[in-house]
Amino acid sequence: MLEIPPPRATRDYLPEEAAERREVLDQFAHTAGLYGYRPVETPSFEKVELFSARSGPEIKSQLLVFHADHEEFALRPELTAPVCRLAASGALEDEPAPHRFFYTGSCFRYCRPGSGLLREFTQAGLELLNEPGPSAEAEIIAAATRFLRSVGVGDFTLRIGTVGVYRDLLPEKIDAEDRSTILGHLDRLASIREMCAQLATSGDKQLFDELNIDRKDVVIMQQRSEYEGPYAVADAQELDATALAERLPLEAEAAMRDTWSKEDYVADDVAEKLIAVSRLRGSLDEVVEQARGVLEGTRADGALANLLAVCDAVESYGVKNFEVVLGIARGLTFYSGAVFEICAPAAQGGKKYGGGGRYDGLIELFGGESTPAVGCAFRFDTLLDAVAANGGRQGRKAFDLFLEADGDGLSAARAAAETLRDRGVRTGVGPNAPADHTLRVGKLDGSGNVVIAGKSLSLDEVSQ
């Protein structure tokens, strides 16, 4: 016997779950439509270069790659790059700008066996091209949050920040590689901080283990730069969860600041400002006030003013419940301005549902004209879990009505069922109704009426 399991790190969805997925996807399309977004479809695979152009060929190890005609292709890991390729190709010239697109589709990433991640997953996203002002970010955030509420996930955390402050704090003439190293470090630092905050409230064992792995990296960094100071990891014993959550961000900050200084990436005062800004979080007013103190007299004033404008616009959409996090852990090399993320509340594990932001440089990178762009995408599968946890969409039974018939009665029942289907009644025919999938069971009587629970109804009455 041939036994063929599904490919590693993929899964099947049975009707009940598949129906729920479809419904939530439909809801996404509906919400996008309320804001004038229209669907786009692109191929499921692209030339590898489309995905390696920004991040370098190292990214290939995270893709599912195949060859045809001596060319190298990858199954798409996300949908923003394909949309940008489309925009860069000039195919949108005859379309009215700004362009409002939405998409839903399968994406693919290679992940280590046993990592618990799926190699095929679903993304749903919005992209708004050619809209430079802060209303673009606000509209995307408004649509994203409306969608969440519409599928019963009203309880979420929205964080807004900007990568503009980092871009503007770094000297204009900094070496590109140094720049991306620093941005990479800041990204890492932000994620460490985020996880530590998470650990402090939850004490989660898995998080604790992961952070200890991060700590090993911090040790290596400190050793390389020969850091000596109050936050040297070597001085500290193994820490329990509470102590680790408190100390690790400081150890990481020290390692990074020391590395930047000794490798001469940036001046010490700039390093100090980068770290100080990355710590800021709170209400809009608090953060802006503190950030002004740090950024006074730097070029980053403008980025801060932009963040303020975006947040104001978001509030005008009635979205008032958000936190401003300047050290938001979102691809600093991808985005160019405001960024945001939407997560489960900390009490529910804090998983990321989705995120987005402004990425003005990307379309140009693919050979198009310089185009302002804002977008966001949802991790659909994570979101689906949340939908289910919040009671789910009510799964409908397969049949509204099942006409039980056999032998000579079958042909009349089939004809009646077709008439009912014409009127939108989901109807089954057969000798025995499948109880789990059937809402009501009926039988035809001699006059062509349907008898349901002892009551005789005409086809007209049934379809009402």
Partner: protein, 258 residues
């Protein structure tokens, strides 16, 4: 009981490899310790070890002469043995990039596209001469960027009826010191580099990475992996080596919005 045959790399990887084995609690007697022997003793019962050049190890594994071996990702890919040799573990050491490099003076050439355009579409009669030890990786690169079949200059071409017919692109089989060939005897090279400094010192610049982050890998013949007696031994070696692999958290992919 059948023995497991293990191939360890000779050459630049030796020292790092030795430190790696030691970190995993293996004392490799006769490996990278000044001994002239080619058969070190790892002290693991049932495992017979031999030192081979890293270039030879992947296809020796593929042919079944060895069960398990350590070589670079570059030679694993160059040898085109993915169908029956598995890449079991990334040891994270001996990192090199396989790159395309051309003379620094060529300001108009900054990508493979530029390079092929410069030679193939120009009306000159001279072919583009690419020197390399990585014949297959280089051919793959040419095929991906052009519709042309390159000609090959190698002492071995008569063994395999290779083409020497005039093609606008010619691969020259290099046996080392590849960076010295351009500009007189070649136009471009495909070679490995750790930092790029040797290339720069020889007046070359990198225009493309054919294979980035090639590191040492533990490679295994797939049939050996299914062998009842060999499998536990392979697992033992893998576990010992895994100890030395630097801890690395699964990094968030830097893709798109999420």
């Amino acid at each position: 009981m059948s023995q497991l045959r293990l191939a360890l790399p000779k050459g630049s990887l030796e020292k790092k490899m030795r430190a790696f084995l030691e970190a995993g609690g293996i004392d490799p007697k006769g490996y990278a310790d000044g001994s002239r022997s080619y058969t070190p003793d790892l002290g693991i019962e049932g495992v017979a070890t031999k030192i081979m050049r890293p270039q030879e190890i992947p296809y020796m594994l593929s042919a079944g002469f060895f069960d398990i071996g350590i070589s670079g990702l570059d030679w694993y890919q160059e040898s085109e043995v993915q169908s029956n040799v598995e890449d079991l573990l990334d040891l994270g050491i001996g990192r090199v990039d396989i790159v395309v490099a051309v003379p620094q003076a060529w300001e108009d050439v900054n990508s493979p596209e530029d390079l092929f355009k410069k030679f193939v579409t120009s009306t000159g009669t001279k072919p583009l001469r690419i020197w390399t030890e990585y014949l297959n990786l280089t051919e793959g690169l040419i095929r991906r960027h052009t519709d042309l079949e390159p000609s090959l200059y190698s002492p071995y071409q008569r063994l395999n009826v290779e083409r020497r017919a005039a093609s606008p692109i010619a691969i020259f089989h290099s046996f080392g010191a590849t960076e010295s060939k351009p500009p007189d005897d070649g136009d471009a090279i495909v070679d490995n580099t750790e930092t790029g400094s040797t290339l720069r010192a020889n007046g070359l610049k990198i225009i493309h990475k054919v294979l980035a982050n090639s590191t040492a890998r533990l490679l295994v013949n797939r049939r050996s992996l299914r062998h009842r007696d060999k499998r536990p031994l392979i697992e033992k070696v893998r576990k010992a080596l895994a100890v030395g692999v630097p801890a690395r958290r699964e990094e968030e992919p830097v893709f798109g919005h999420i």
